[in-house]
Symmetry: C2
Subunit: 416 residues, 2 copies
């Protein structure tokens, strides 16, 4: 078999700079999640296929990576984090606390058509609260979602919000035996992108009379926030979210048919990327999946789009991308080499990120490596330095060189 020296389409490598940026964003998100009292869990990459299939709808089922393992079990790769968590809820129901609040940050896999910003392996950041249908839980989720973006320095987040229950109640009367509420909602959802007339026609194609199709649109245009949605937003504001972050969006439906109450979607206005995830209340899903009666609400953050927005908006501090600080050069004989190795030891003991040039080569070559790797400092212990019990420090950017004692060196490197 010939070796393929390339990544599969839709999959990515992260080289050091990009990986550091991702870790920076992830740590900020984790810190916010923890401040809101969410606790981390992790589930395996592989699950029984029967756990995942039939849970996300027919279209989604096609996107699940599933296969037979060598023990002839049908297994599948994590498609989202909600379904595996419902398994956790059922499997550990005697261990988990009431009002379990968990976060989970892992890769998910979807055999989707790769395109700009859409990958086959990507990271999701989920928060969910189980065991209560209180509006305070919904508000906590909205508040932590808003706070994540505030803490990342993204000020232009809008949260489009709606209420699945109100949607259902508004349009139930238009359903027929062959036309479900969900089908009506799917058409309404398109009002964002398509002209009214096209949506009207689609509703008629689905079996509604012209009058009823118009009535659906009228009802939409005059929709008002339900009292329960108002309470949720009031509570979220009390918990720290800015009121003007929320945009009541009566035609917001969201794809997944398991939502039962509040639904929302985050958009970064200043970024072209648009939607950065969302969520809502799904009080029946845990029961449907696992037989455990547990109310639930939660959201998923689109991690990759959030990272892209941060980069686009210039919100990644330079210091994050900084790697190694000092290159210890190797010079002259075995004795000098040992002194240089010892210096590396001391620098590292002082928490300074240090690389040792591995070979005895001309100093010019060693400086060149520092240049290439953007390491800001090089230290040299040569014969002269050693005689004076000093160390030569070269600052690569200015080219400046200075002889100094070890104590001076540590001071300079720690403050710069």
């Amino acid at each position: 078999m010939q070796t393929q020296v390339q990544t599969l389409k839709g999959f990515r490598d992260f080289l050091p700079k990009e990986k550091r940026i991702r870790e920076f964003v992830k740590h900020s998100i984790v810190k916010t999640f923890e401040e809101f009292g969410f606790e981390p869990i992790e589930t395996p990459t592989l699950e029984y296929a029967s756990l995942l299939l039939g849970k996300y709808g027919d279209e989604a089922d096609k996107l699940v990576y599933s296969f037979k393992d060598k023990g002839d079990r049908e297994i599948a790769l994590r498609y989202d984090q909600t379904v595996p968590t419902t398994r956790v809820l059922a499997q550990y129901q005697n261990e988990l606390p009431k009002f379990f609040r968990r976060y989970q940050i892992q890769s998910v896999f979807r055999a989707d058509k790769p395109q700009k910003g859409r990958y086959r392996e990507f990271t999701q950041c989920d928060c969910d609260i189980f065991g209560t249908s209180s509006p305070v839980a919904d508000a906590e989720l909205l508040a932590v979602y808003a706070q994540v973006y505030k803490n990342l320095g993204i000020t232009s987040l809008k949260i489009l919000i709606n209420d699945r229950e109100t949607l259902f109640n508004n349009f139930k009367e238009f359903t027929t035996e062959s036309l479900s509420v969900f089908s009506i909602l799917q058409s309404i959802d398109k009002l964002d992108k398509l002209p009214k007339e096209v949506v009207l026609k689609e509703l008629q194609d689905k079996g509604l009379s012209a009058d009823n199709a118009q009535a659906v649109l009228d009802r939409m245009a005059n929709a008002e926030m339900s009292e329960s949605l108002k309470t949720i937003i009031d509570n979220a504001v009390a918990l720290g979210a800015d009121r003007n972050t929320f945009v009541f969006t009566p035609n917001l439906v969201r794809g997944l048919d398991y939502y039962t109450g509040m639904i929302f979607e985050g958009k970064i206005e200043a970024s072209a990327g648009g939607s950065v995830g969302g969520g809502g209340r799904y009080d029946n899903l845990v029961y449907d999946l696992s037989g455990l009666k547990t109310a639930a609400a939660g959201f998923g953050i689109g991690f990759d789009r959030t990272v892209e927005a941060m980069e686009e908006l210039g919100l990644i501090p330079d210091t994050i991308v900084e790697g190694t600080k000092v290159l210890v050069s190797l010079f002259g004989n075995e004795d000098l080499k040992n002194k240089s190795l010892n210096l590396a030891k001391i620098l590292r003991q002082n928490g300074i990120k240090t690389e040792v040039y591995p070979e005895l080569e001309k100093l010019g070559k060693q400086f060149k490596l520092a240049d290439q790797k953007k390491i800001p400092f090089v230290v040299v212990i040569g014969e002269n330095e050693d005689k004076e019990n000093k160390i030569l420090l070269k600052e690569m950017l200015s080219g400046e060189q200075k002889l100094m004692s070890l104590v001076e060196l540590l001071t300079v490197l720690k403050i710069s």
Copy 2:
């Protein structure tokens, strides 16, 4: 299809306590890697199967999770981190610096028989230095490996060390057309676990004369460290490793046939778990895999066994496992509820991990949740507290309750 409410054999969930312990250990390892100037990379979970198959030996090939995706590509799950990294080296050869030093911490997948301490998805922590065969690079790897365990507080680490080149040179003369050096080494490797006589017999079964089989064992018994191995250890000691960590082990072979020089294996003496990974020099592998001529050396840390050893040795600080610090109770009317939500906002703004009880229930029930979740403090704003503009703080362990101002509350919670 019936839903399976269980994890696949050999796969694990990590609930909050265990997940926090793993993150603690991981952060310590990352900090050490970074201090030694290693840079993080990440590769996809899935690769072309042709990249992975035929690289680890016939036995290992059977353990690779591979399957056909919907585009009829043969794909496979990450089996180790070395082979994907050699792909990265070839694919990005114009971007990567000389003496590329990378670390990588991800899951790998092996369809092995699950047993105690052996999982089908487990975490590896790898460090490698590419582009040099200098003994300083070998020494850097030994030094960082030793420092990882020092920083974790594990003092009983031993590094069994040997030299593949010396092994080959010592036993080359015993090879025949049907008996490879590697086959002889495989028998030698068993001297740890089997009586001499059994190994002697095995060597004879493989085609050696009784005299030659005995000569192999004699040569082993009298083996001495090569000069190059001595230099490597000297350099590692200069870089900070303790000399008595190293144990010259002439019958150490290590399974993978791609090693070409120094090889080593870490053992935690105080822990039953034994081996916690290892590595060595493999100067031909990158060329064999990718056609790129690059010397290389590196190691993998057995993350799961290291975590288990930390737990066994009582090295996980209690503070790491600590989750949420305060439960904000909900009390009385809407106005009081809003004040409580506001208090949660302020606590979180001060970096205090805070959960809000989501429902209006009897205080006793709310205290009970704090007990169950081991949250050390509960705050209450009831009518009386509100009148006095105070907050009631209950410390769950002592049961003590105290009225205080917001400023006092923040002080108490920040220092406790």
